[in-house]
């Protein structure tokens, strides 16, 4: 493994930040939509909360947590698009043929996207605090940990998705379906308890389900309830990056197999 160079990493971080800044529309759009929908759905969540728990609530916690999950999932497409662009622009091979190692390239691309997704959530919760007096029960620090964990999970899933997609159109369609399905299973649109039975049983396979559980723990419960959801988010993130690694390794494996086929004796080439 090549050593990470400060000059190289700084150049990649700077460049990726420029690329995000040059095309901020999707991230700004998803952030504004999250803020607007959280505002509009507060009364709905308050009513739902009263219906399911028979206790009065402002609905702000549920609305903000739900929208944070939903629109971060849409931002997953942004993460995936930035990786996919490297392929469509043919720059991925340029990066690979440079002295930068794979981990360095990935870090250079991922960190600014991660910061952008985390910022999206910071704006949403910051707005809710100023406009509706949102105050996380477990403290802002714990909420920040949830937001960072979920942002990291979304980013790694996005990198995994980008290795599967063959074109921006395919990525966009698959990303929308995945985001909506995950949002529904998370209970971000309607509480999981109110979903049809089969969806209810499927809910834990959604990373959004665990993200919402983490946010709910930070907003309304105690840090102790966070451990399992955060562990699950880490697992989903690992699955995303694992998928990317497997697909990247597959190309090398294919090359290796074709090399064996050429040799009549089956011995590796010298």
């Amino acid at each position: 493994m090549r050593a990470i160079s400060g000059v190289r990493l700084a150049a990649e971080l700077r460049h990726q930040s420029v690329l995000i800044a040059r095309d901020p529309g999707p991230l700004i759009g998803y952030t504004l939509m999250a803020v607007l929908l959280a505002t509009a759905t507060r009364p709905l969540y308050a009513a739902l909360h009263q219906l399911t728990s028979r206790q009065a609530a402002s609905g702000t916690d549920q609305a903000c947590a739900g929208m944070a999950v939903m629109f971060s999932l849409f931002a997953l497409k942004v993460a995936a698009a930035h990786v996919l662009n490297e392929r469509t622009w043919h720059t991925w091979d340029r990066l690979r043929s440079s002295p930068a190692g794979f981990s360095e390239i990935l870090a250079g691309k991922a960190l600014p996207i991660f910061a952008a997704i985390a910022l999206q959530q910071a704006v949403l919760f910051g707005f809710a605090a100023l406009a509706f007096g949102l105050h996380p029960h477990a403290g802002w620090g714990i909420l920040a940990i949830c937001a960072l964990a979920w942002s990291g999970c979304v980013l790694l899933l996005g990198i995994g998705a980008s290795t599967l997609a063959r074109s921006p159109g395919q990525l966009s369609a698959a990303g929308d379906i995945f985001a909506l399905l995950t949002t529904i299973l998370a209970g971000a649109l309607a509480p999981v308890a109110l979903l049809p039975g089969w969806l209810h049983r499927l809910a834990p396979v959604s990373p959004g389900y665990w993200a919402l559980k983490a946010y709910n723990a930070a907003l309304t419960a105690s840090p102790a309830a966070l451990a399992r959801p955060l562990a699950m988010l880490a697992l989903f993130g690992l699955a995303g990056i694992g998928l990317a690694a497997v697909i990247a390794a597959r190309a090398r494996l294919r090359s290796w197999i074709s090399r064996q086929d050429l040799l009549p004796s089956g011995r590796p080439a010298q």
Binding site: W89, S97, A269
Partner: protein, 300 residues
């Protein structure tokens, strides 16, 4: 500097490299010519570690890049055939990224970007986004990204596509200067006259291997040229020059001589045919060109 020997690579049933040999010394520009699919691009991808060859070796300053590409990568500047730039970033941002990737500190990188932009006539567009640049400007920018870290080996794959004569001259001058400063350059092109401007040696690739390699004069001497002599009436039956190395073809008032050195055949031929010489109108000499050489080698 670069010594590649016996490189082979298959992609399924397609043979991309079939024993590709090429050497390039420091300060040498090797003009690598060949039609699409001749193995030029795969060869470049092998050198930077993007493709693992099935067999063979490529040594760069003694390092076998097919096994240890990491230490060799900083020594190579690659400008691939297809454009590989960030269209939403500016030309300057693209150059600074590639400078950074090769470990050049920011301040030095800025200075180098300025120098290259001046030399490649890109100064006016440095702050424009790549997608707003013309095809020729993008191509020059791509070449600049390969040269920004002043590598000892430059792999330039058709860098002048879409360039007008002025910018082409500028680009060729920059490449020549890099070679004069000691870089080995493998320069792929379909515009063979560029190789004369660059004073390049020649490598002709076909079917995944190099079928001819040497300096231009030596290779050109293997290919016949032509002399076309016009008379004011059909020249009739003519005696040859006596060297026996030429072919003569009469078509109406025109005589075409095909010979390794057609100029050397003309004078003796005219001396031996005074009757025809009395009716001489014009003589046109067509020495063999690189295009002729290429056609000759590939068709053979």
């Amino acid at each position: 500097m670069l010594e590649a020997s016996g490189l082979t690579k298959r992609f399924g049933n397609t043979v991309a490299l079939a024993g590709f040999d090429l050497t390039a010394g420091a300060g040498e520009i090797v003009g690598l010519v060949g039609h699409n699919g001749a193995g030029k691009t795969t060869f470049a991808r092998v050198l930077v570690g993007l493709v693992i060859p099935d067999s063979g070796a490529a040594l760069l300053d003694g390092i076998n890049v097919t096994r240890f590409c990491s230490p060799a990568r900083p020594m190579i500047g690659l400008a691939p055939q297809e454009l590989a730039l960030y269209p939403t970033a500016t030309a300057r941002e693209n150059l600074l990224l590639f400078a950074g990737l090769y470990g050049i500190p920011r301040r030095r990188a800025r200075r180098r970007v300025g120098e290259l932009a001046d030399a490649l006539l890109l100064t006016d567009v440095l702050n424009r986004r790549v997608r707003e640049l013309s095809g020729g400007q993008q191509r020059r920018l791509q070449t600049a990204t390969a040269m920004v870290h002043e590598p000892p080996l430059l792999l330039l794959d058709e860098p002048t596509v879409g360039a007008d004569p002025i910018t082409r001259d500028a680009l060729l001058a920059v490449v020549r200067k890099a070679a004069d400063e000691g870089a080995a350059v493998v320069y792929t092109t379909h515009y063979l006259p560029e190789l004369e401007v660059l004073d390049a040696t020649l490598a002709v690739a076909n079917g995944g291997r190099v079928i001819a390699r040497g300096n231009r004069a030596e290779l050109l001497s293997r290919v016949p040229g032509r002399a076309i002599i016009e008379f004011d009436r059909p020249p009739g039956r003519l005696q040859g020059s006596g060297s026996g190395s030429e072919q003569m073809q009469v078509d109406g008032h025109r005589l075409t001589i095909t010979a390794p050195n057609p100029a050397a055949s003309v004078a003796p031929l005219l001396t031996r045919n005074p009757e025809a010489t009395a009716h001489l109108q014009t003589i046109e000499l067509h020495p063999p060109t690189l295009d002729d050489l290429y056609r000759d080698l590939v068709s053979a």
